[in-house]
Amino acid sequence: MKGLHFQVDTYLRKYYSSMSLASPVTLDPQYSAAPQRRVGRLDLLFTGLLLMGLCIIGQPSQAQSQASIWQINGYATLGATWSDNLNANYIPNALNQQGPGRGRPWDPGLDTRFALQISADPAPRVSAVLQVVTEKHFDGDFKPAVEWANLRYSITPALSISAGRIVLDTFLMSEHRKVGYTLPWVRPPAELYQLVSITRSDGVDVRYQTSFRNMNYALTLNYGRNELSELDGYLEAPNLWGISQRLERGDLTLKATYTSYKLVYGQLGQFWDGFRAFGPAGEAVVARYTSSRRRSIFTAVAAEYDPGPWFAIAEWGRSSMRSGFGSRSGWYLSTGQRHGAWTPYLTVARANGGHSTVQGIDPTSFPPPLQASIATLNGLLDMTQDRLAPRQFTFSAGTRLEVSDSISVKLQLDHVSPKRGSGGTFNNYKSAANTDSANIVSVSLDMVF
C-alpha cells in the first residue's frame, strides 16, 4: 500500500501541476526530506548497535573457536520482466514505481536483488543476525538497506525473545519473500502480497515453539514501529502489533496471522486539505475516508501441502482500513510437480478490491466555476480507492529448474487481467480508459550461498 500511496501522490503532483484552476492544496517539496534522512540514520544506528553488541559479547571464549561464532551467508536474484502492455507499467511490488511496459518492455528491477547476512551465536542462548539487501528502491536506484538486525535470547529451548529490526510475519512466505531461491515462483502473487506494504518492524518479538503428537507449533507475538523510507516519509506506522501461528504436521503446514497497525500519512494529508477547502461537504468526505484514530487490521490464513513429488499452496488475506475505503482481500491457489530438476507450476490469483464506488463532494451544490476542481478531487479520490484496492485476476504458468544445489532458474508467464474500471497492478497508464489485460514474462536466476 505504501507504493500505492506514493503513486497517488505522484498523481496528485501531476494533476495539480496541470490544473488550470488554482489548487486549494499546496505541496511542500521539503516535507519528505526530514523523514528520509531519519530512516537512513535508523538503518545505520541498527547496524552500528548490533555490530558493537556482537563485538562486546562475541569475544570467543577458550572453548569456542572464532569460526563457530560468525557465519556469512547471502542470496541473490538476477531477474528480468517483460510486458506486452505498452500502455502502462506492470508494478507487482510496492517497493517499485517503475516496471515493464510503457516506455520499455523489459525491466530488470522488479526482482533483482543481492543480500549479505552476518549471523552469530556470540554467547550461550544468544544469537544475532544482520542482513543487508541491495535492491531497487522507490527512487529508482539500487541501494542497500537493513532488512534484519536483531538479537535473540533463548529463555528456554522453546521460548525466545528478540529485539531490533524484524521482518513482519504477515503472510505464509513474508519472512523469506525476498529470497527467490526459497520461492516456488519468480515472486509471490501480487494480488495477495500487496495488501500489506509494511514488511518490517523495529521492536520486539516473542516466539514460542513446541512439539506435540507429531506436530510442530510456533506462536510469535510482535510489537514495534515502522517508517517507510521507500515512501520518503509519506507513511508511518508508529505502533503495530501482530500474532502469527504456524502448525506443521508431516507434509502439511497451516498458518494464521493477525496484524493491527495505525497508519499516519504524511503528504497525503494535504490531499484531504483539498476537500476541507470546500467546507462542511468536504469535511464529510475526509471524515468518511480517513481512518482517524482507528487501527487497520490485516488477517490471513494459509495452507501448504508438500509431500515432495508435488506441492499445493492456498492463501487468503483481508485488510480493513476501517474507513470509507473499506476492506480489500486477495487469494491465490498454486500447485506444482517436481520432475527431477524441473518443477513446473500453475497459479491463479485474485485481488477483490474494496467498494466499487466512492462518494466524493456533490458538485451540483457548488457554483459552476468550482465544479471542475471538485470533479478533479473526486476523480483523485476514485483513483486513490483503486490504488489502495485494485481488482485483478492473474493466471500464471511457469517452471523452475535446479541448476545446482544452490542455484535455480525460473521462467514464468502471467496473464494479468485487471477488472473493469480498475487499473490492477498497473500504473502510469497512457489513458484512463486503458485497462487491457497483459501478458507478462519473467525470468530469474536465484542463488544462495
Binding site: L86, Q117, V129, W148, R152, Y181, T182, H339
Partner: protein, 155 residues
C-alpha cells in the same frame, strides 16, 4: 505488434512444455541407470541411551525443528559432506527430500535468523571419531562402515 506478442508468448509456453517433457524423459532415464547404492543407517554413540528413532523424529532433528532427543537430552546432528552418496541417500531415501529442497528449507531458516544447517564433516571416519567422543551426536553412515563404538537407531 500485439499479435506478434501473443504469438511469441505462445512460443514461450510451447518451449516450457517441451523442455519439461524432455527433462522428464531424461530424468527418468537417468534414475533407471543409477546403480543400487549402499544402504544408509542412522547412528549414535554406543553410550547414548536412545535405542530407536522414527523417520519423523529424524526429520525434526535434521531439519532444525528440535534440538533434543525424544528423552529431552541435547542432540547435535552432523551431516556427511555435501554431494556425498551417504548424504544423498539419507535425505532422498530416508527423509524423502532432494538436495535442493533441503537447501531451500535451510535458506528459509538461515535468512530469517531462525536456525543454521547441521555441521557437515568431510568423511565417515570423521563422523565415527566425533561420535566416539560425544554422546550428543546423531549422524548417518553407510551400513558397511559400522564400527563397535556406535549404535544404529534407524535402518
Amino acid at each position: 505488434m500485439k499479435r506478434n506478442c501473443v504469438y511469441s508468448v505462445r512460443g514461450i509456453l510451447a518451449s516450457i512444455a517441451l523442455a519439461a517433457l524432455i527433462s522428464l524423459v531424461v530424468t527418468e532415464h537417468a534414475l533407471a541407470q543409477s546403480p543400487v547404492d549402499d544402504q544408509v543407517v542412522v547412528i549414535v554413540s554406543s553410550i547414548n541411551s536412545i535405542e530407536q528413532l522414527s523417520r519423523e523424529q529424524l526429520e525434526d532433528i535434521f531439519l532444525g525443528q528440535t534440538q533434543s532427543f525424544p528423552n529431552g537430552s541435547q542432540v547435535v546432528p552432523v551431516d556427511q559432506a555435501e554431494g556425498s552418496n551417504a548424504r544423498r541417500q539419507f535425505y532422498e531415501v530416508v527423509l524423502g527430500r532432494t538436495a535442493a529442497q533441503v537447501r531451500s528449507h535451510w535458506a528459509k531458516l538461515t535468512f530469517t535468523g531462525r536456525g543454521r544447517p547441521p555441521r557437515s564433516v568431510s568423511s565417515t571416519d570423521e563422523i565415527l571419531a566425533l561420535i566416539s567422543q560425544d554422546a550428543r551426536i546423531l549422524s548417518y553412515i553407510e551400513k558397511n562402515k559400522l564400527s563397535n563404538h556406535v549404535k544404529v537407531v534407524f535402518e
